[in-house]
Each structure stands twice: as C-alpha cells, then as structure tokens.
C-alpha cells in the first residue's frame, strides 16, 4: 500500500490503514521522541501521543504544504517540546559529576551496544533545556534565533545552553569510554 492510500484510509478512520502507518513510522517517531525525552519510557509514551495526534489531526494534512514525513516530524518535535512529563525531571548534574553516564544495571545487560544507542542515551541524560537546544540545533538545523522563539528564551541563552550541552555530552562520552575500557 502506498503512503497516499494509507493516508486516505487514515482520513476515513480505517484501522488497517492506521496500523500500516503506525508500523511504518513508529521507529522514526520513536527515535525523535527518544532524543527529546529523558528516558525510553517517556519516549514510548510520547510516541503514542504523537500518533494519537497524527490520527486525530490527519484531516489537516495537506500534500501541498509538504511531505507527510515532515508533517509527522513537526508533530513529534512540537509534542516533545510541549510535553513536560512528571518523570522527565532533569537529572541533577551534581550526580553526573560523580556517576556521569553510568548505565543502569538493568539496561547494561540489554543489547543496545552500538554507538548510536549510547549517543542517544547520553543525550537523554542531558538536562531538559540543554537537550532541547541540542536537538533543535543539530538535528533540526534551527538557528539560535528560531530556537529562542520556539523555547521562549533569548538566542544568547540558546547559544550558551548549546555550548554547555556539548561540554556535558563530551564529558559523558569520555567517561563512558573510560569506564568501558577500565581506564581511570
């Protein structure tokens, strides 16, 4: 089934089309949500919310205004930015200095060993504001002015938060490499 037929089916509230759309885009949306969320559980919840919005607002989607993927991306990012979760508390950085980027025991046994997974997990450990700025700047290619408008902060604040985000992220990656190779 091509995407146009799937979207048409979704507009008619057809379950099969909705399922096809969900299974086709779930990984993509989930990845975006993971980058913006503090943990995978929040990301999974956000992903469900994003698809709820997609299915309830799909009538508003218009091909003339852009691709469906861009539309879904915009919803996922907007939702991730707007949705402040109870569990999405910023991890106090004081603990980062002591136990920076220590993968929890139950997760360390998981299969996620590749570089991307580690990077995403590192991004998730960033304070919320830093994480949002980093995502918007690096992955959505927004300028600091645009980020400032989106997050209601000054462009200079966006700039400084990006710098701090990168510093912490580099430190987290460094710490992880050190621990992985047993170097102290």
């Amino acid at each position: 089934m091509d995407i146009q037929r799937i979207i048409s089916g979704c507009k008619n509230n057809e379950r099969r089309a909705q399922e096809a759309l969900f299974k086709g885009y779930a990984g993509y949306v989930y990845t975006i949500c993971r980058r913006y969320a503090a943990n995978n559980e929040d990301a999974r919840e956000n992903m469900q919310d994003v698809f709820m919005k997609v299915f309830t607002k799909i009538e508003q989607f218009n091909y003339e205004k852009g691709t469906f993927k861009n539309w879904v991306t915009r919803i996922a990012i907007n939702h991730s930015l707007n949705r402040a979760k109870v569990n999405a508390k910023v991890i106090p950085i004081v603990s980062l200095s002591e136990n920076a980027f220590r993968i929890p025991q139950n997760e360390s046994s998981e299969v996620h060993t590749d570089k991307q997974e580690k990077l995403i997990q590192a991004i998730q450990k960033l304070p919320k504001g830093y994480r949002q700025v980093l995502n918007l700047y690096v992955f959505e290619q927004k300028s600091h002015k645009e980020i400032g408008a989106l997050l209601n902060i000054e462009p200079s604040s966006s700039r400084s938060q990006l710098a701090r985000a990168k510093t912490i992220l580099k430190k987290l990656i460094e710490d992880h490499k050190t621990k992985s190779y047993g170097i102290r």
């Binding site: 999405a88 996620h112 209601n152």
Partner: protein
Amino acid sequence: MALDNFEQELFDDLAGYQSDQDLNLDQEWSDLETKLPKKKDKRRFFFWWWGSSLAAIALLVGLLLNKNDFKSTINEQQVYQTSPEIDNSNILNSINTTEIVSSSESIQVQKNTTTNEIEKDQPQLKNSATSFLTNANIETVEIKNPRTVSAPIIPSDFRVNSQFSKTSKTTVNIFTTNDQKNKNKFIGENSPIISIEKEGVIEDAVLLSNILEDNSTIDTQKEIAINNENVNAIDTLDEKEKIVIEKAEEALEGKLISLAITNNWSLTASGIYGLNKINRTTSLDNQSAVDFISNYEEPTDFAAFDLKLMRTLNKHISIFSGVRWSQHTSLFNLNDVFDVERIDENVLTEEIYYLAGNVEYNYGPAQYNVTVRSKLWQKYQSISIPIGVSVHTSLLKKWSVQNDFAIYISPFQNNVGRKVIKTETDYFVFDNQNYTTKLFFGLGNQLAVNFKLSPKFLLQFNFDTGIDLSSRLNTEQHYQLRFSHIGAGLGGKYVF
C-alpha cells in the same frame, strides 16, 4: 549555520538513525488502538440504533403485555347476581312526552326519534328495541337498576375524551346473551354496567371505552356520547335516538372506574439517570483551547427530574408541557506538568555544576514546571421547558406504552466547576460560571411503559434520549457546547 566537528559527528551518527529495536510494534499498536476514537458516524449510528432498538422492544413488550392484560383482567369468579328486583322492574312508556324520573335507584332511558328516522335500518338493535323506537317519537323508559350497590353504573368523575364542549363519546355494548362467563369477560372488574329491561328483555350495557377486542358475544354495539359535565347522561351519537341515564351517585360506594384514566389532565413526575456525550466545536481561533479541554474532559453521567402536565386530546394522543431540571456531569482529569513561562517573576531555572566544582545559579523569567494533578468535576445544569406530543396506547389498561416527543427550551443554566486551561507558555484556571451562557434548544424523546397501580395512579418506567440543537455557551465569546444523553428512569403519573 555551520556545524562544528562534534555537532557534525552527532548529526551524521543520529540523523538517519532509527531505533525501534526495543519496540514491540504489535504491542504498541494494540495499546494505541484502544485509545483511538471510533468512527464518529458509527458512534452516532450506534447511539441512535440502541435508542431505537430499545424503544421498539419496549413498545413491543408493552403491546404484548397490553394484550395479555386484557385477558388477565377477566374475572372468571366474578358473577353478577341478578337481583330479584329486576323482575319487578317497571317500564314507563310515555309517548309524545318526555318524563325523566330522578331517583337514586333508577335509570331513565329516553329515546327521541322522528318519523323519518324510523325508516332507517337499525340492524344492531334487537327487534324489541327497534319496535320500541318505531312506535314512539319520544319515549321515556324508567328502569330500576338492580345493581346500584354491587356494581356502580357511572361514577361522577367519569369522563371520556371530549372534542366538543359537552359531549364525548364511548362505546356501549348491549349484551343479551345468557352466557354469564362471556358477559363477565366484557364487564370486567370496574366497568360501569347498565342494566336495561325493556318489555321483559334484559339488556346489559357495558361501557368499555372503545377497547373491545372481541365482540363475538355482543349483540349490539353502539357508540354513544356522554353528555354534560356532571356525566349523568348518555346520548347516542345517532341523534335520532337519545338515551338518557341518570344514576345514583350514592350507589357508587366510593368506587372509581377504570375509564376515569382517560381523563383530560395528568401530572407526571419522574427521575432519569444515564450517560451523556459532549459535543464541543468552535469556529473561532481558540481551537487549541477546545482541543485541550476535549482531551482532558470526559463526560460521565446525566441526571434529570421531570414534571409534566399532560392534556389528553383523544384516546391515543396528548400534549404536554412542564419543567425539566437536568445535569450533565463530566470530569476534567488532569495529571500533567506544564512548562510555564513567567515574565513577571524570577525563578530559579537552572543550577549548573561545572566539572571544576563551580556552581552557577540561573534566575530569571523563564520556563519552569508546574505540576497539576486534579480531578475537577464539571456540572452543567439547566432548567428546560418541554413542549411536546405524547402518543400512547390506551391508558385504561393495566399496562400501557407512551412515547413523548418534545422540543425543550432552556432559558436557565448553572455551570459549576473549574478547568485548568493550558496555553503555549502559561496556564490559567477558568471557572465555568464565568462562561456566558445563552438560551438553547433541544429535542427529547421519552418512551415509557406505564403500570396502573390504581385507577388514578400509574407507575412509569421510562427510557429517555435527548440532544441539544443549539449551543449552551455564547459562541461569540466561547466555543459551541452541546450535549446529548441517553438514560432510564422511574416515575409516577397521577390522573386528575
């Protein structure tokens, strides 16, 4: 905007990366599917389909019960004893004069005929009665009523639906059969009985108010009219003959007859409880606010109390009005954290711990989290005036079914409760009482099954549906708010 090396490395590593390895897509879809709204038109269809089905079932059950009830009310044990006095009844036959003898124990039958009308065929009358008519222009027959005590004739409150100023009509069945069982079948427990003796022939006239289902044992059936407000006379509709019966009021012994149920006025009080559905739309720019409210506000229940004053037009149709108090309840269930932007107050936004051990505190007008965990009950109350039509089966029987359809005019509202409305950067609490309301209209349908507890009082089981036709809120300032509901209830109907 150029990315530095670190940023570029991040972008290259993650921009095209898709991570769904820890996702169970089937499970995730299953979870999502339960939250997805069902097809709107289907939901509406099912709402009315259920309503119509229940209405049809209730109507069918009512009709069946009605049919059975007729049989069940046959009092096999009831034997009307023929008083010995009946043999001594005296018929006064006075030609060309009208003589009405008022007596507490007598019935006077007056027949007015004209010569031309005598020619007309009267097949439904017994020969003796026909000849009785042919021989007289005006005849007055006085008959002593043998059953004034054991079986009331016509109580003083006896009324039959009237479309004229003083005349109403019903059916008189004249029995001449000696089959007491069949006679009792139609006489019933409370029906008025008229015994007439004419020239040695005894005729029982029973008022059954047009509800006869089997007239195989009836020799003569005449449609008659009840004349005058005191209901102490019966006229035939056929003007060439007139029967006037005066009965003994004191002979009623306080008994009421079932025909009294067809009286003109009744008052119904009932309570209804059920489910409601909110329809909230807007043509304004506040769609996001409406979406937000819709996401968090779930309808819960519906309750109403009705008082209906009903005027019977005829055996099957009545009109009514009255008052309805109703309440649509919903729950604004919020458990969320808002990012709030305050520009007029400084808050601690960050505590930055540098790796060197320095700490930097950032204060300022910026985002911070506000947690709201509330279950806020919303109660939309209104007082409405129904104007409607009721279609019903005969209310004379033990079981009857009625369907009341009405337009509701609702001039009064009281909306109780608060909502937390979130905007892009802030939130605020809104009291429902601050919404400006307006007069709104609605449609309602109530299907009821009545059970006659006594001649004047009926127990009522009802099934109620309704829908708002217009918005309850001022749409120039707010959104359109409309409710629909479905419910069941219990009530009582008193017949005056």
